[in-house]
């Protein structure tokens, strides 16, 4: 990692989040400080309930922190208006989830194209549809799903669904990919394959990836592992840069 003029792609400082259930306030994050350098593959590990998914949602602007600041490419994003956050998620940050979260009514390729369809109106999408379709096909080839373009999610296996989700997250060429337990629902071998895909994307396209997992095996595949416990980052074990 270069030390000169270091600017993190993503940084969180003093991020706090409290869930309230009626009178009871349950602090989940108690001030998380956390940086991700461009091109890094970082895994966040911690026990169930340690707040790692919450942190990922905050980083992905799906939720707002109760305190602290989050910067993406040097710009503060935690206090952005809804429209700005929508654009950020649509174009700059890709998200994948433990339960894949594909739209059941759409085919594989349509699911991959969904973010582009969300971005464009009917006419401007129609004008560029070939270009996007080519790109979606290429992405599905990359994740090894070139042969299942027109299948509905229910006809796919778990690994195939997660590959589709990865292709969808990459259609807008984001700088950052956030993955919430990407292998949590898969068997060991399939999980390893997914991890392999992520590592390859990280290596070949210099994609920055932040991955939440509770599986130390998967975490070991990352450049760096961040431990989260009791709402704070415990210690950063530095892997080879």
């Amino acid at each position: 990692m270069s030390t000169t003029k270091y600017q993190p792609l993503l940084s969180a400082s003093g991020v706090r989040k409290v869930y309230s259930k009626g009178e009871v306030k349950l602090p989940v994050l108690k001030g998380v400080d956390f940086n991700v350098a461009p091109g890094e593959l970082v895994s966040i590990v911690g026990q169930s309930g340690s707040g790692k998914s919450t942190l990922l949602h905050l980083l992905g602007t799906l939720d707002r922190p109760d305190g602290g600041e989050i910067y993406f490419e040097g710009n503060r994003i935690d206090n952005l208006a809804a429209a700005g956050r929508d654009i950020l998620r649509n174009r700059h940050i890709g998200l994948i989830f433990q339960f894949y979260h594909l739209l059941p009514e759409l085919t594989t390729i349509e699911n991959v194209l969904a973010p582009v369809m969300i971005r464009h109106s009917v006419l401007s999408y129609w004008a560029k549809r070939r270009e996007y379709q080519e790109r979606a096909k290429a992405l599905l080839e990359t994740v090894g799903l070139g042969h299942r373009l027109n299948h509905k999610p229910r006809e796919l296996s778990g690994g195939e669904m997660q590959r589709t989700a990865i292709a969808r997250a990459l259609i807008s060429e984001p700088q950052l990919l956030l993955a919430d337990e990407p292998t949590g629902n898969l068997d060991r071998q399939t999980g390893d394959e997914i991890l392999e895909v992520l590592r390859r994307l990280n290596a070949e396209q210099n994609l920055t990836i932040v991955m939440v997992t509770h599986d130390p095996n998967i975490a070991a595949g990352a450049d760096r592992t961040v431990h989260l416990a009791e709402g704070r980052v415990q210690a950063a074990s530095q892997a080879a840069a």
Binding site: L62, A82, D86, R89, H101, L103, E105, L106, M117, I118
Partner: protein, 507 residues
């Protein structure tokens, strides 16, 4: 883009939502059918009224009538100008019609109308409603030998017409047979014996030398009284199976009793011979009117000034050019003529209460039927809430992919709108098909149930009249779509307000 795609997929996969729009479809179809039939009946009715009544009518407020119809017509032409295409003077009086049938006298209340056969057909479709083909061409109030319609010439489908067998007899044939019968049953005057003759001769009575009473020289077998055209409902009735039974036929004699002109009116009677029937298929006219030649009418009632020979009429009927503004012409005439002497009305004014009633009926029906569609809207609302709950995770996914709240709301509004389009579209197609084949459907139902749905015996029409107003259809469709959209607003707002993280965690 994604909104349309998702709507399309939801439309094709959520059959429960399609079920919710069946009520919209039925509502739209019903509204179209009801409106078409109501319009059809109203149009049919108005058409016949207009045909019977002509466009604008100037009526003298006094039953004595207005003098010199030629002068009046010249004035009307001066005022209304080119709009006038036909005018005819008419006279009318309430009267009692008496006829003899099966040993009994029947008396009925009628309105006797004196018409000018030359011009009357130029203002209304009077000729078309007569039963003898020659009279339809040219009415001369002369009894015809025979050839009166047995099959109703106004019917389009002859298979549905019940033949009027009695009419085969009508005409001189019937009159001669009647006369022969009367002659045979007539009581011969008693033959005077010689003794009586002598007794009379010896009497000094001045009457003895008086000439014998003048013999009735009228021979009903070869002569007729003044001709009259009788409203068909005045002397016939229709049986349950739709057959017309006539008490009188062309060729029979009737008598009318009516007040004369002048003060005080005298009571006068006149014998007439039925020469044809008038069938406008509007019961109120067919059971009310009988027509005689205007000059005969004027003689009978004394509507001719004995010194000057100027004739009087009660009304002048005016036919206007196609597309002329009836009300404008009426208003111009009202300005020109003294309103305490004349009443100037369009045919719509004359049938105003009936037309207004039909209009009110249509309006109320429309409101009620539209409420049905509104109820369907609540069905959509409920099912949409279900779908939004079912789709909670999808909503979370879309938001995580950068869809805005407005976009998510748009999906469900578009979905509601497209359901409205589908529902209204199916309703329009179904409704129009139903209207197109309504008579066939009525026949089929009639055959299946054994009771005719649309009984010509009741309606005097042989088929259900329908008119499809594109404007009405469009208005109904827009209303239905609007309701579908309105019903989806609340579920759409709920969907838009969902928090992405909670939506994603939804199981």
């Amino acid at each position: 883009m994604y909104k349309l795609l998702l709507c399309w997929r939801y439309l094709r996969t959520r059959y429960i939502a399609l079920a919710s729009i069946i009520s919209v479809t039925l509502g739209v179809a019903t509204m179209i059918v009801v409106n078409s039939v109501m319009d059809g009946f109203a149009h049919e009715m108005q058409g016949r009224m207009n045909d019977v009544l002509s466009d604008v009518i100037i009526t003298s407020r006094s039953l004595e009538g207005m003098a010199n119809p030629e002068w009046h017509m010249a004035e009307i032409r001066k005022v209304a100008g080119d709009d006038v295409v036909g005018m005819t003077p008419t006279a009318q009086v309430p009267a009692a019609l008496a006829y003899y049938f099966r040993g009994q006298y029947f008396t009925r209340q009628v309105t006797v109308i004196g018409i000018d056969p030359e011009t009357y057909s130029s203002v209304s479709k009077f000729g078309y409603y007569l039963q003898h083909p020659e009279n339809r061409e040219h009415l001369d109030f002369q009894l015809k030998e025979d050839g009166y319609d047995v099959m109703d010439h106004q019917a389009e489908d002859m298979r549905k017409v019940k033949p009027r067998e009695q009419m085969k007899q009508a005409g001189w044939k019937h009159r001669r047979a009647n006369a022969e019968f009367e002659k045979r049953i007539a009581v011969q005057p008693p033959i005077q014996t010689a003794a009586q003759e002598n007794a009379a001769a010896t009497d000094d009575s001045p009457f003895a030398t008086a000439p014998a009473p003048v013999q009735e020289t009228f021979d009903p077998a070869t002569e007729q009284h003044a001709g009259t055209v009788l409203g068909i409902g005045l002397c016939s009735h229709r049986t349950a199976d739709g057959t017309d039974v006539f008490q009188l036929l062309p060729g029979d004699d009737v008598e009318i009793h009516f007040p004369s002109c002048g003060r005080p009116p005298e009571f006068r009677s006149s014998k007439l011979t039925v020469t044809d029937f008038y069938e406008s298929k509007m019961a109120q006219y067919d059971m009310q009117y009988m027509f005689i030649p205007l000059d005969k009418f004027q003689e009978m009632r004394g509507m001719i000034d004995p010194q000057s020979g100027i004739r009087f009429v009660n009304a002048i009927q005016i036919k206007l050019a196609e597309g002329a503004d009836l009300n404008a012409v009426r208003d111009k005439l009202r300005e020109h003529f003294q309103l305490h002497l004349y009443d100037v009305s369009t045919w719509r004014d004359m049938e105003g209460p009936l037309l207004a009633a039909v209009q009110t009926e249509t309006l109320v029906l429309n409101v009620l039927l539209f409420l049905i569609i509104a109820v369907a809207g609540f069905g959509i609302l409920a099912i949409f809430f279900m779908i939004v709950v079912e789709k909670t995770r999808d909503i979370g996914i879309l938001k995580s992919l950068g869809a805005s709240s407005e976009g998510v709301m748009g999906i469900f509004l578009t979905y509601g709108f497209s359901l409205g389009i589908v529902g209204a579209g199916l309703g329009i197609v179904g409704g129009l098909l139903f209207v197109k084949y309504i008579n066939e459907i009525a026949d089929l139902l009639g055959r299946a149930t054994g009771t005719p749905v649309f009984d010509p015996a009741v309606y005097y029409l042989y088929k259900i009249p329908t008119i499809v107003e594109p404007f009405t259809v469009g208005w109904i469709a827009i209303g239905a779509m609007l309701i579908a959209v309105l019903a989806s607003v609340l579920p759409a707002i709920r969907a838009a307000k969902m928090h992405p993280v909670q939506a994603l965690r939804f199981e």
